[in-house]
């Protein structure tokens, strides 16, 4: 990777020559299809799906196997979007935020544009992230590896500060939701000392609540309860106005896609961030950047374009630390690392020197795979949208069954089904009381990461809090977080002409 640009270009071209061979192209197509289906199935997320499908690749040559597995990985990121938009049940946790506006778009007959912008944004985000891998991988990864516990803590604090961007009409209610999420995150084993907290002797609670039953419950079951209460017969406007994006949609999506690409790319370089963080942060950023933030949650295309782009940009960028330094940043990339090692390839700087043909073929296949994903999924949009024509009572029963299978298959435990029901009731109550649910999900994910970052940092500094301010990246992030909180609070407190205070 220290080669000159012209050497890199030559290597990439030879990689394309290998990746475009008919068999490798076929593996990429199969991987994208399987990945999309895995993403659609609830509970079977990218990590489980990639692991389940490894046996399929055993008979393939190493290049073909990794091409297929990588295609499954980023295909699953797109697949999770489909159920989020159509039935308000995220196929995988990172797509939960798409429920907020994507499902509202579907209810207004705009499921097609929602899925289309997700597909296009995913393509752009994934392609740019792959370009980053080719051009900037090593220096960027070295920067990302400067993120120790203090920097991680700072990043999580920035993420939490953006909770104010997820507030609806009331900052108090948004903060209640955020605190409830943080409290739920306390359940389980303490991340530093290993002490059980709030488990009340239940073995199932030692790992805390998984994010998947929580999002399926809060979004999916909560919505089912609301529609059952209202005896919803016609939830979706099936007079679908258009299946394609209008000029206005494209104009409104452009900047969110650009921002989502950068955000997802940057966060993908940092091991341990997880796929949910970029999507929720992107949503919060788009809401803050919008001239009409109060309309988020009613079907704003920006609320789909940004997060879905960030999702795929993150997924592709997360491969950079894996390939350049042999550091898997997430469970799915760890599984990919295992697959590489099963094929006799050790990821890291040596991989580029010892197996350049393999590496560049796989990198070229990322470009091709992102394009295949776009080509495969766009024509299927009318097929997916046709699902909405199913009578709602039948759809409701199917979605419930879908959720049950998804929750159970996580860890073969009925406890997760019970947890999903409990969170569904919580989601219903939150909706009735106009308490936003997005802060709860965001803090449930960020809380443990933040606590671990804080406590590990203080162990490094032997209890000295100045560690956060003496390290430049950490200090910068904390200043950004303070700025976000102060400006959001000031905006919430200042009277708006013709409206009550938002506090």
């Amino acid at each position: 990777m220290e080669d000159r640009p012209v050497d890199t270009f030559g290597l990439l071209m030879s990689g394309f020559a290998t990746a475009l061979q008919p068999t490798n192209l076929l593996y990429a197509v199969v991987g994208c299809v399987l990945g999309t289906l895995v993403g659609v199935l609830p509970g079977v997320g990218p990590a489980a799906g990639t692991a389940i499908l490894i046996p399929i690749t055993v008979a393939l040559d190493p290049t073909g196997a990794i091409i297929m597995l990588a295609a499954i990985y980023y295909g699953a990121m797109y697949g999770g979007t489909i159920t989020s938009v159509l039935i308000n049940v995220p196929g995988e946790a990172a797509s939960a935020v798409t429920c907020l506006d994507g499902y509202e778009m579907a209810k207004r007959g705009r499921a097609g544009p929602a899925l289309a912008v997700a597909a296009i944004g995913s393509f752009i985000g994934g392609t740019v992230a792959t370009m980053g891998l080719v051009l900037l991988a090593l220096p960027l990864t070295r920067f990302a590896l400067r993120f120790g516990p203090p920097e991680f803590f700072g990043l999580m604090v920035v993420g939490l500060s953006l909770v104010t961007g997820l507030a609806g009409r009331s900052l108090v209610r948004a903060l209640v939701s955020a605190i409830v999420g943080l409290l739920l995150a306390q359940i389980g084993i303490d991340p530093v000392m290993g002490a059980p907290r709030f488990t009340f002797g239940r073995m199932e609670l030692l790992d805390g609540f998984g994010i998947v039953p929580v999002v399926m419950g809060v979004f999916g079951i909560g919505e089912i309860l609301l529609n059952a209460e209202a005896q919803a017969v016609k939830v979706f406007d099936t007079k679908v106005s258009s299946l394609v994006l209008t000029k206005r949609d494209i104009k409104d999506s452009a900047m969110p896609i650009a921002r989502g690409t950068l955000l997802g790319f940057f966060l993908g370089l940092i091991p341990g961030v997880g796929a949910i963080v970029p999507t929720f942060l992107s949503y919060a950023i788009e809401k803050k950047a919008s001239k009409t933030p109060e309309r988020f949650g009613t079907g704003m295309i920006e609320g789909v374009a940004g997060p879905e782009t960030a999702n795929n940009s993150y997924a592709n960028a997360a491969l950079i630390p894996l390939f350049t330094l042999g550091i898997p940043g997430s469970p799915t990339t760890a599984i990919l690392m295992g697959a590489l090692m099963m094929n006799g390839l050790v990821p890291g700087p040596g991989l580029f020197k010892e197996h350049p043909q393999f590496v560049w073929a796989v990198i070229a296949s990322f470009y091709i795979g992102n394009l295949i994903l776009l080509i495969l999924n766009l024509p299927f949009i009318p097929v997916w949208v046709a699902v909405l024509r199913i009578p709602y009572s039948v759809l409701l029963a199917l979605v419930l069954g879908f959720c049950v299978v998804g929750a159970y298959s996580l860890s073969n435990s009925v406890f997760d089904i019970g947890a999903m029901l409990a969170f569904g009731i919580l989601g219903y109550l939150f909706k009735k009381l106009d308490i936003p649910t997005a802060p709860l999900v965001l803090t449930l994910v960020l809380g443990p990461l933040m606590e671990r970052g804080l406590r590990q940092s203080l162990e490094m500094s032997r209890g000295d809090f100045s560690i956060f301010f003496t390290r430049p990246i950490s200090a910068t992030l904390l200043v950004i977080a303070a700025f976000v909180v102060i400006t959001s609070t000031f905006r919430a407190l200042s009277p708006v002409r013709g409206a009550d205070s938002q506090i």
Partner: protein, 152 residues
Amino acid sequence: MRRPYQITGVVLLLLAGFVAVESLRLRYYTSLGPGPGFFPFWLAVLLGALAIVMLFQAGLGRLEPMPSDFFASRGGYLRMGAVVVAMVATTLLLEPVGFCLTMLAVYLFLLLTLGRQRAIVMALVALGGSFGVYHLFVRWLKVPLPRGLLGW
């Protein structure tokens, strides 16, 4: 929305109190920084403060008016109850009875209670959602689902 938020405020205050008491049973601080009880304690304090603000706002009447459909009709609560009953039954019966039979019964129950469909549609949905899904997950994806007493 006064009464609902007053009730919510009280519930949150009680929750905050409970969490604070439980947190104090854990180690609050160590020589190297916060212990396991540190974060939950202060989160409970914050939650309590927010609950008090909520009660204050409700008391002052500075809230949105209650929507007309805030309370459901009797039929609405019965339908919601059906969904909850279906899920509780699933949780209790899935492992002893097995996935196929449990989901078959649950689908038929939901389709009968939530909306009338033709018998053929109900049969197809119930069979597909139970036996069909079992086949997909267990045979193709090798994801185990509970087999119950009858082995399926």
